[in-house]
C-alpha cells in the first residue's frame, strides 16, 4: 500500500495508526478492562438523557404546534393562504402542505408579500369571505404594508398570520435576528382592525377565531395574528387540553327605527331627493334591496363604484347627471359613503380654493359605520362633514325596513310625484346613454387606441359570458357602457389608491370567480403591472383564468398632469412633464414579460382593427382555464 495519492485523505501511516488503536480497543474489551474505551464520534449523533448520544431520528416531533394552528385555520372555512415563503413561519407552512394536505386551505405561492395581500383583498370582494396570508413578521410585513392599507381603505377583510421569534435565547445568529421584532403588528397597527401576539396554542386558537370574527364584522377590515415561531415548532404538550372555540359571526345591525322614520319623512317630503351609494351593497341581495328602496321614492341614485350598488341599466341610476343632481338636491342620503364632504364640496387644484357644489340649505342623512370605528393617524376618514341626521347601521341590513318606512310615509299624493319622476328619469337615463355612445365614437379609429374603443371591443367579445370586471375603476367607459346588473360584475378598486393593486387584486378576484364559473376580465394599467409583475407567474402556476387587457399608455399620466400643473404654477413650460413619468425608451414588452412567467400573451396591438381577433384568441385561452394577456397601446386616458 502506498501513501494515498488518490485524494481520499487517508495515508499509509494514518491507516496503520488507526488499525493499532482499533486492535488495542478490541484487546481491552476482550480482557474486560474497566476503563471506558474512547470511541470516535458519530457525525450527527447528540447526547440523549443519561449521556448517550442520540440520533436525529429519535428527535422527531410528531405533533408540532403548527399542526394545531392548521386545525384552527381549517375551522374558519378558509380556502386559500397566500404566501411568499419565510423561515419565521416554516413550520406552519410545512403543516399546511403536509398535515393539512394543502387543501382548504391551499397554499398560493406568491413572489412578493404585497401580491399576497392584494390577492387576498381581491379574493374577498369576489368570494364574500376572507382568505389568509402568511408573512414574515418583519420584512414580509414591510413588503405587505401598502397592500394592507389598500384593503383597510376599501373595507375588506384579510386574515394575516405573521411569523416571528420573540425568544432571543433560541434565535440563531444573523438573519433570524434581523427577522425578529418585539411587536410585529406595530408597523401596520394604524390600518388593521385588530391584532394579537398569542403566547400559547390555546391563546392562538382563541385569537384566530376572534380575529376572523372581527375582520368579517362591519366595518370589515384586515386583522393580524402573530404565529410565534416557538409555538409553531415545539411539540404540542400531550397533557394540554386544547380547544378551538366555534366561530359565530356577528349579525349586521340595522339603523335605529325612529331615525329611519325621520329620514324617510325627509326623503318623501323632498322636492329633489338624491341617493349616493358607495359601499352600500355586500352582494346581489344588497343590490336588490337598494333597487326596492330607490323605487319606493323614485329617487335618483349616484353609484360611486366602490362596490356595484345599483344597476346602470335602471332608469334611476343617474351617474351621468351627477353634478346637476347634486347642485339641485334638497335632501341627500349617503349610503356608506367614504367621503360625503367631497360629494358636496371640492378644493380646487392647484390653488386649494374651497368651492361648494351642493345647495347651502341641503339636508343630509348618512347611514354608515363611519362614526363607530375609525383610526386617527392615516387620513382615510376624509374631511369632516356635519350631517343633519347621522344613522349608524349596516346599509344592506337596514334597507328593507327603511323602504317600508318610506312607503308608509308616502301619501296618496306622492304617487303622482313619483310617476312624474320616473318618467323624467327614464328620459334622462336614455339621453345620457345616447350621449355616452356618441362620445365613445369620437376618435374611434385612432392609434393609439382610445379607451372607449378598447372597452367596446372587449365587451363585444365577452358579452355572452358570465363576465366579472374584477377591477372596475381604471377605465370609466365600462361602468358607463357595459350593461351591469349584478354585484359581481363590477368589483371596484384598490380603496387606498395605492398603485400596484390592480394586477394582484384582479388575480385574487379571479381565484374566487374560478370557483363560481365566472369569466374574470380586467383592464391592466402598465405602471401598476410593473410594481410586482411576478404575480403573473402566480396566475400561471395556479391556473387562475383571467383575461388581462393592458391599458398601456407608457407612462404615469396622472403624474404627467400634476407636473403640468406645477410647471404652470411656477410659470415654467410644460414640455418636460414626461421626465420621471414616462415608461418608454425603451418601451416594456408586456407580451414577452407575461410569456416569461408562463402566461399566454399577444401584443403590442397598435391597430384597433386587430383588437377583436386578438381578444378572441385570448378569450379561448381563458376559457380553457388559464390566464391570458393582450398588450394594447392606448391613448393616455
Amino acid at each position: 500500500m502506498s501513501d494515498d495519492k488518490s485524494g481520499s485523505g487517508v495515508g499509509r501511516r494514518d491507516f496503520l495508526k488507526g488499525a493499532a488503536v482499533g486492535a488495542a480497543s478490541v484487546t481491552a474489551l476482550a480482557s474486560g478492562a474497566a476503563e471506558s474505551v474512547p470511541t470516535a464520534p458519530v457525525p450527527g449523533a447528540e447526547t440523549a438523557a443519561g449521556g448517550a448520544k442520540k440520533d436525529k431520528a429519535d428527535r422527531t416531533i410528531a405533533r408540532p404546534g403548527s399542526d394545531f394552528m392548521v386545525d384552527v385555520i381549517k375551522t374558519l372555512g378558509i380556502d386559500f393562504v397566500a404566501a411568499n415563503p419565510g423561515s419565521s413561519f416554516r413550520s406552519l407552512h410545512e403543516s399546511l402542505v403536509n398535515y393539512g394536505t394543502n387543501s382548504k386551505p391551499e397554499l398560493i405561492t406568491c413572489l412578493h408579500e404585497e401580491s399576497s395581500v392584494a390577492i387576498a383583498h381581491g379574493y374577498a370582494k369576489a368570494a364574500g369571505k376572507p382568505m389568509a396570508v402568511m408573512v414574515h413578521g418583519t420584512v414580509g410585513l414591510q413588503h405587505a404594508s401598502m397592500a394592507i392599507y389598500n384593503a383597510w381603505c376599501d373595507r375588506v377583510p384579510v386574515m394575516i398570520f405573521a411569523g416571528n421569534g420573540v425568544d432571543a435565547s433560541t434565535r440563531r445568529p444573523g438573519t433570524e435576528w434581523y427577522h425578529s421584532v418585539q411587536d410585529p403588528a406595530a408597523i401596520v397597527r394604524d390600518f388593521v382592525k385588530w391584532d394579537d401576539q398569542p403566547a400559547s396554542l390555546q391563546h392562538f386558537a382563541e385569537s384566530a377565531v376572534r380575529a376572523y370574527k372581527i375582520a368579517t364584522t362591519t366595518p370589515k377590515e384586515p386583522v393580524l395574528v402573530v404565529a410565534e415561531l416557538d409555538l409553531q415548532e415545539r411539540a404540542v404538550d400531550p397533557h394540554e387540553k386544547l380547544m378551538i372555540p366555534p366561530l359565530s359571526l356577528s349579525i349586521p345591525s340595522q339603523g335605529d327605527g325612529a331615525a329611519l322614520d325621520e329620514a324617510a319623512r325627509l326623503l318623501v317630503a323632498a322636492k329633489s331627493p338624491l341617493i349616493i351609494a358607495d359601499r352600500a351593497a355586500r352582494d346581489q341581495e344588497g343590490v336588490r334591496r337598494l333597487i326596492a328602496f330607490a323605487e319606493a321614492l323614485q329617487a335618483p341614485v349616484i353609484d360611486l363604484g366602490a362596490r356595484m350598488n345599483f344597476p346602470n341599466t335602471h332608469h334611476l341610476q343617474q351617474n351621468g347627471a351627477r353634478s346637476e343632481l347634486i347642485r339641485e338636491a334638497d335632501v341627500v342620503l349617503f349610503l356608506e359613503v367614504a367621503d360625503p364632504w367631497g360629494q358636496l364640496n371640492t378644493v380646487t387644484d392647484p390653488f386649494h380654493e374651497t368651492r361648494r357644489i351642493g345647495r347651502e340649505d341641503v339636508k343630509t342623512i348618512s347611514l354608515s359605520f363611519s362614526d363607530v370605528y375609525l383610526k386617527s393617524n392615516y387620513q382615510d376618514f376624509q374631511r369632516f362633514m356635519a350631517v343633519n341626521l347621522a344613522i349608524t347601521g349596516d346599509v344592506q341590513a337596514s334597507l328593507p325596513d327603511f323602504a317600508e318606512r318610506v312607503r308608509r310615509a308616502s301619501g296618496a299624493g306622492h304617487k303622482a310625484v313619483m310617476a312624474e319622476r320616473a318618467a323624467r328619469f327614464r328620459k334622462a337615463h336614455d339621453q345620457a346613454l345616447s350621449r355616452v355612445r356618441k362620445a365613445a365614437a369620437v376618435g374611434w379609429d385612432l392609434a393609439p387606441v382610445t379607451t372607449a374603443r378598447l372597452s367596446a371591443e372587449v365587451y363585444d367579445v365577452i358579452k355572452a359570458e358570465p363576465w366579472s370586471l374584477v377591477v372596475s375603476d381604471r377605465l370609466s367607459w365600462p361602468r358607463q357602457l357595459w350593461p351591469t346588473t349584478q354585484f359581481h360584475q363590477m368589483l371596484g378598486g384598490s380603496g387606498g389608491q395605492g398603485v400596484g393593486f390592480s394586477l394582484p387584486g384582479a388575480i385574487g378576484a379571479a381565484l374566487a370567480n374560478k370557483q363560481k364559473g365566472l369569466l374574470s376580465v380586467t383592464f391592466q394599467p402598465d405602471g401598476d403591472a410593473l410594481y410586482a409583475p411576478g404575480v403573473l407567474w402566480t396566475a400561471a402556476h395556479h391556473k387562475i383564468p383571467l383575461l388581462m387587457i393592458m391599458h398601456n399608455n407608457r407612462g404615469y399620466y396622472q403624474e404627467v398632469m400634476h407636473l403640468q400643473r406645477m410647471a404652470s404654477l411656477h410659470n415654467r413650460p410644460t414640455d418636460r412633464a414626461l421626465i420621471g413619468n414616462e415608461i418608454d425608451h425603451p418601451a416594456v414588452d408586456f407580451a414577452k414579460l407575461a410569456q416569461s412567467f408562463g402566461v399566454w400573451a399577444e401584443g403590442p396591438v397598435t391597430d384597433p382593427r386587430a383588437l377583436g381577433a386578438a381578444l378572441r384568441r385570448a378569450l379561448a385561452v381563458v376559457k380553457s382555464g388559464a390566464p391570458a394577456l393582450v398588450d394594447v397601446i392606448c391613448q393616455a386616458r
Binding site: D430, K438, V442, W444, P448, T451, Y459, S568
Partner: protein
Amino acid sequence: MHARLIAATLAAMLSAPIAHAADAGDAADAGGSAAGASGTAAIEHGRQLFIANTCYSCHGTAGQGAERTGPRLAPNPFPLVAFVMQLRQPRGVMPRYPKQFLSDADVADIHAYLSSVPASPPAESISLLDNFKPQP
C-alpha cells in the same frame, strides 16, 4: 366679458352637430391660422406642439377628449380667438400657456392641427356600439 366670451364660444362648440364621417387619413388644410406657416406645414407643426407640450395627455392625441381630464377639442374646435384666451387664461384646472412658452403663431398652428382632425364615424354607424343601446 372675457369669461362670458369663452363660455359662449364653448357652448356653441359643444352644441354643434358632429360632421359625418370623412376619410380618417385625410388631413385637410385647416385654413384657419391667423399667423405662422400655412397649410400642411402649419398643421404638422401644430401637431408636434400638441404632443410636445403634453396637451394629448388630457385631450387625447387627436383632441378627442378624455372622460376625467380634458374635454373634446376636435373635430370642429371653437374659434381661434377663444382658443387663445383659454390657453392664456384657462378656466378650470388646465395649466396656463403664456406667450413666452407658446407664441400666437404656435397657438394658431395647434388650432390648425385640431381643425384638420376629421370627423369620426357617427355612433349609429358603429356596430359595436349597438351593444349599448337603451334597453326597453
